[in-house]
Symmetry: C2
């Protein structure tokens, strides 16, 4: 962890007042931001600080300084399957589950997660929510990568790559929470995969675990057409109303996707304080529908952004999602003024932190918060001119423009080079699974209807 002063950057704090310093500074002391403000006040503000001469100075002239981005939904290890099955019908059940069942093992999950952490840090994501398998080992990789992780073992009604028994994720989760609760970077969570992969009894047990440990509980919810149809058939209620009837929905609940929602469902979200992870790219690519995030935000529901796994969203950074989020909302609501750039960037940062229950420590640049900071260069051709820095970040930037990533006060990526992980080794580790995956995918491809 660094004693560091970032100077002369354009600072988009994303604090409550959307404070922007055109020529500003940020002081990082250990894991925390201690001071920030306009350069003109720096000397005055730092008078009480002893030995600032021992701080490293980083000149950020011409650069944009932002809070690190928050990815509220992913299945990181699946990056090993990226570019497979992208345009396949009924992909989850016909392609993704069988592929995962046959191919995925512990080593592949860890190699995938490590590669994904590299992509996240290189792309400016400092906080990631992951739901997958072998999460206790993945947490160790995250710790080494130096990324802030809200991590959870997926719970479902059939055996998983990490459990021979149905619902093997439940005892695993209990232990996982004990192992990691209180860690400065890793926050454990409970993950029930979905309504169609969990029964009532286990959903309620998961909720009890989350409540007793005071951790968040995440589910895929109101995502699939069959989920909606079967729930109405079996229980006479929408998925949201059904979960609410079980007493599961509360302010600790993070509902991923949340596409097929009635007005009544939205009211339940609002009344219970449910948070939403909006996965614009994945939702659209899967032709699942356009989530009603305009209504959600008008009702005061917290909406963060997520990528989903790399078979669904392909890339794991949040910057790539930003132009999608607004454009899809504008065109589907027939209003170009909706979701202006600043609002999109709030969802990518502080709203995402709120969705994960981490708004006290990350998601904005404020004195007292952990130092989760990214620096974007503006030398690349796509980054000029800058009349509105929010617009530039949302509509023009891509992950290659992220120059430096700081998490919890540690510089983990600088000048596009990872400092916490060895990229060459990560690539080697990714490649060693390719023959196996390719062989399995070829068999699956044969069973698909020809397009």
């Amino acid at each position: 962890m660094a004693n560091l002063i970032l100077q002369h950057g354009t600072i988009l704090t994303m604090d409550r007042q959307d404070t922007l310093y055109e020529d500003g500074f940020v002081v990082v002391d250990g894991d925390a931001i201690t001071h920030l403000g306009p350069m003109s006040l720096m000397d005055e503000l730092l008078q009480g600080i002893p030995e600032t001469e021992h701080y490293s100075i980083l000149d950020c002239t011409g650069k944009l300084i932002l809070p690190g981005m928050v990815n509220t939904h992913s299945h990181l290890s699946m990056v090993v399957f990226r570019s497979l099955g992208d345009d396949v019908a009924d992909r989850l059940k016909r392609y993704l589950f069988p592929l995962e069942k046959t191919a995925m093992d512990k080593q592949m999950a860890l190699d995938g997660a490590a590669y994904a952490f590299a992509e996240l840090l290189l792309g400016g994501v400092t906080t990631i929510y992951d739901a997958y398998y072998f999460e206790d080992e993945i947490a160790k990789v995250a710790e080494k990568a130096g990324i802030r992780g809200v991590l959870s073992e997926t719970i479902l009604s059939f055996p998983s790559p990490n459990a021979d028994e149905p619902y093997g994720g439940i005892p695993y989760t209990k232990q996982f929470i004990k192992n990691w609760q209180g860690h400065p970077l890793i926050t454990p969570a409970v993950n029930c995969h979905a309504l169609y992969t969990n029964d009532r009894e286990h959903l309620q047990e998961c909720h009890r675990i989350a409540r007793e440990a005071d951790v968040i509980m995440c589910m895929h919810l109101a995502e699939m057409d069959y989920e909606q149809r079967d729930c109405l058939r079996d229980f006479g209620m929408t998925p949201v109303q059904y979960l609410d009837s079980l007493g599961i929905l509360d302010a600790r609940f993070l509902a991923a996707h949340s596409i097929n929602l009635e007005d009544r469902d939205l009211e339940i979200y609002r009344d219970r304080g449910v948070k939403v992870s909006h996965n614009a790219g994945s939702n659209a690519k899967g032709a699942k529908g356009v989530a009603r995030i305009r209504d959600m935000r008008a009702m005061g529901i917290t909406v963060g952004l997520g990528t989903d796994g790399a078979m669904s969203g392909n890339t794991l950074d949040i910057l790539t999602q930003l132009p999608l989020v607004g454009k899809i909302q504008k065109v589907s609501n027939n209003d170009r003024t909706l979701f202006p750039a600043k609002e999109i960037l709030r969802m990518a940062t502080i709203e995402g932190a709120k969705a994960l229950g981490l708004e006290e420590i990350t998601g904005s640049l404020e004195a007292g918060k952990r130092a989760d900071i990214i620096i974007l260069e503006t030398d690349s051709v796509n980054m000029q001119p800058i009349y509105d820095p929010y617009s530039v970040v949302v509509y023009s930037a891509n992950p290659s423009n992220v120059e430096t990533t700081i998490v919890n006060g540690r510089v983990v990526m600088d000048k596009r080079r990872l400092l916490s992980l060895d990229m060459a080794e990560l690539r080697e580790n990714l490649f060693r699974h390719q023959d196996k995956i390719r062989a399995i995918a070829r068999e699956l491809d044969k069973k698909l209807p020809s397009s």
Copy 2:
């Protein structure tokens, strides 16, 4: 121009059979591709070629070799206004036209165009359609940049930055065509801005000019809600039916946007051989609607991709458009199998070339075509793994992954460095207009309704 052999790349030819060479070579002789194929046949295929020892060899191991992308719609010089007015209502008339009228002059147009050419070449676009002002000077900049340009002076019923008289673009266009027709890189075209900025008489005159010179004619068509409404009110016909009644629509006509189309309009497009420039990002950001490109393609209508100007589409490369195109179509048509990656890439390359009437010389890698080639690196974290290279290009790549750009046999960008233009000088030239633009934009902002 180079005598060059690209070796050991994965070659996505985008030819009629979608031929892909997993380990292939391409020979560039002067401005043309003379040979390509699998490495295993290289020695045999090149036996007739004298002095191949004098060719430069470029090792492309691990890289993707594609035809350069085709951007079928832009207003390049407007890049000087990028990040202004992004989320403003009724932006064209309340913000963009006044800004352009007050701020734009010849020097700004040229500096903007030069900067835009840099962005295009760095982003893998080798052929660009531009409609703006001062195009005779812009053509000279394009020639220097070494980009293939289909260029046209915008014609409209009021004075422009380049004409004190209404329709001043018409005499300009006649001279412009004479100046440039037959040039190896520059193809002149006719551009009537839109139905709502041109009257019947001048539309027909433009069509005559295009027909007589055998050049394409481009218009914004079926883009705006008021365009549709007013045309129905004034002529009792849709814009497409009205233009068809004037005898204007033919195989030389390129209809930009084409969003608000009835079935009958589509039949007219098909019957007349009209081509479409689809601007997915701009259409969505402007909340203008979702173009019926699925129906168009089912009917055999040629659909290329475009970015529109940088106030509408922000970035000018085509790679950034690719994930948008498919995702918006999939979700709005409720079918995830629509527009698979390979089809999107065809629209970005050979279909774009067809839209501009250049399919004989560019848009695919085939012996006899001009050497318009891009090379994508796959070292970056987002570019692996590669089970389906089409998916990687469409869903994962961004402009920073383009490593080399070759146009008409000339290497104009290599290892992210422009060889035909001086990036530092382009930035300087862009920056010198900023104070003026910022002052004008502030005045315009004051007149906008507060959001």
